[in-house]
Assembly symmetry: C2
Amino acid sequence: MIRGADALVVGGGLIGCTLAAELAARGLEVVVVERDEPGGEASGAAAGMLSPQTDASEPSPFFELALEGRDLYPEWSRVLREETGIDVGYRRIGLLRCFTERDPHAAGAAAAAAWQRARGLRVEQRSRADAQPGGVVERLAADVSAMLFFPDEAVVDPRRLTRAAWLSAERRGARVLTGVAVRRFRIERGACRGVDTDAGPIEARRVIDAAGAWAAFDERLPLPVPVEPVRGQIVEVRLAGRPLETVVSSEEVYLVPRPDGTTLLGSTMERVGFRKEVTAGAVARLLEGAERLLPEIASARFVTAWAGLRPATPDGWPLLGASPIDGLFFAAGHFRNGILLAPSTARHVADLLTGRPSERRLSPFSVERFAGLPSRA
Amino acid sequence: MIRGADALVVGGGLIGCTLAAELAARGLEVVVVERDEPGGEASGAAAGMLSPQTDASEPSPFFELALEGRDLYPEWSRVLREETGIDVGYRRIGLLRCFTERDPHAAGAAAAAAWQRARGLRVEQRSRADAQPGGVVERLAADVSAMLFFPDEAVVDPRRLTRAAWLSAERRGARVLTGVAVRRFRIERGACRGVDTDAGPIEARRVIDAAGAWAAFDERLPLPVPVEPVRGQIVEVRLAGRPLETVVSSEEVYLVPRPDGTTLLGSTMERVGFRKEVTAGAVARLLEGAERLLPEIASARFVTAWAGLRPATPDGWPLLGASPIDGLFFAAGHFRNGILLAPSTARHVADLLTGRPSERRLSPFSVERFAGLPSRA
């Protein structure tokens, strides 16, 4: 039995561990319950792109939260390295979005580049004519006819990062219980006061659901949590030539160079429930799409493939902040952006929990925006 | 130092171990030298199809040797099971060769079916109209317009088989030295009398080169051995539906159901030297080809992929029997048919080595058929 924790974080993925570290740094007594081990699910399966600009079609509170996440990374990486000794592989290598004549997103991307530049962000038009000798542009398929380069997009190694966030939380005094599953949320007189686990009850003044794709907890939470798993598959290859100097993407696929010299090809979006298997069809489509963008993929060494379950909400934005149940909070539903949003999520949810004024309102990410959704039976 | 062996087999793959077991059964003192472990190379990488009919375009001594191999399997499997306790997975499940309107091999296959039937072999025309409900034909792609079924083709598990052949050789008294590499062949006065290894010299009255793709031994053999590696890649998947009841193949790919419920997709033919890596392009082509034949492949679970090096000769037939060097023999160059040809190879090479009259002449497989080839510098 654990009594009197200030905060109990349910789910020890990157979001949970980062939040726990932040809360512990602010002096709270924090417990994290993780049924497996940090990084065992989506956090460890991500490709590690920090690319808010590439994915943004319009300005929004989500875009600002994502940009803030990206901006926090250099300093956060430095702190994690100091605290844990782990180099989380943060590198601002940029992202080259490639378009063929057939790509239906070319016009939208040009419009996005315009408002992003007006917002003070860097987006560069690239052409094959001014390709650097030996650079990535020369290696692209012949039908890539236009490119946008986002020099401030970055990458990080999600597995190292999750491990570092876990260690950081522990070094700062949080207790991270691994291999412990939640059986029940303790709701007393309409307020959440802890959980029962297979290792006994844990009492806490605040409970934060950071359980990723599992945040809805089947029937174990007495409110609808609109989070569902969306499978994403990734193939890892090793190019015969030298590693790419930047992330490269098309409408079909992205290619992320890793610090160890391999390249990740991602990803799929599949609503297949909690099934994490790698499928032959996805591997084939990722390899084909990558080969259409970078022909030398055909001779790349196939290393491995895996799948993860993204926690998707109906609008693709995360669930952050208070819930209708007193004492229960959300730091969940990060969908494709859990890595990117981890530091800004931790900051603002911690502000909320510690009563500090936050420079960013969490209301756009409140579960109440889904109030019109049908509740579960 | 090992002295006075009757036979030294260089290479402990399936061919080497099977030959060693056969020679030991005939009372010879046999030593096998294997630089890795039996099954570590092509023997363990094969898909395990025993399909002489499917691949035969015309009658030939090779076809007869292959048929004999297939015919020996039921009894050989029984003996191996008795001797070693290992079920080698032999199953006569047949092979369904599928043709689309575009398949350029359809006419040739029909002609092959005709002469094979005249030879007394079974080949059955199948049509979509008489498909069994729930059977494999119903699962095929819509553009499969014609089929030939070879009911006597079979499969075996090459890894279990190689392990069983290894154990059988040892049980019969052969010494199988693993992790021992050959440094030099001992040629004295024009005769081969053993090898020097990194574990010391081994003297033997007869030396049999059964080293698969490595049979040419770089500069270590003083004669040209026309064997080269041809890479073959295989993808293993697990179908969501029930396993296939027969091997299925198209002009692009074959699908082999395994006893453990997975399916192997093979294979490529690549002349890339001694490079065993799995490539992204091959994985993509195998998956695409399999999906074109059996659409449900798209949702199959991707398990793994691997590559092996087939020992190819210029004409695709093996190198069997005596060499120009006294005391040196070949049991090599089995290319795509090492599993199938192992029992017939062992029988006839053992006949030659023990002075028995063999019912099959090995001259079509002699190295001398390549006498006109340019010798190495």
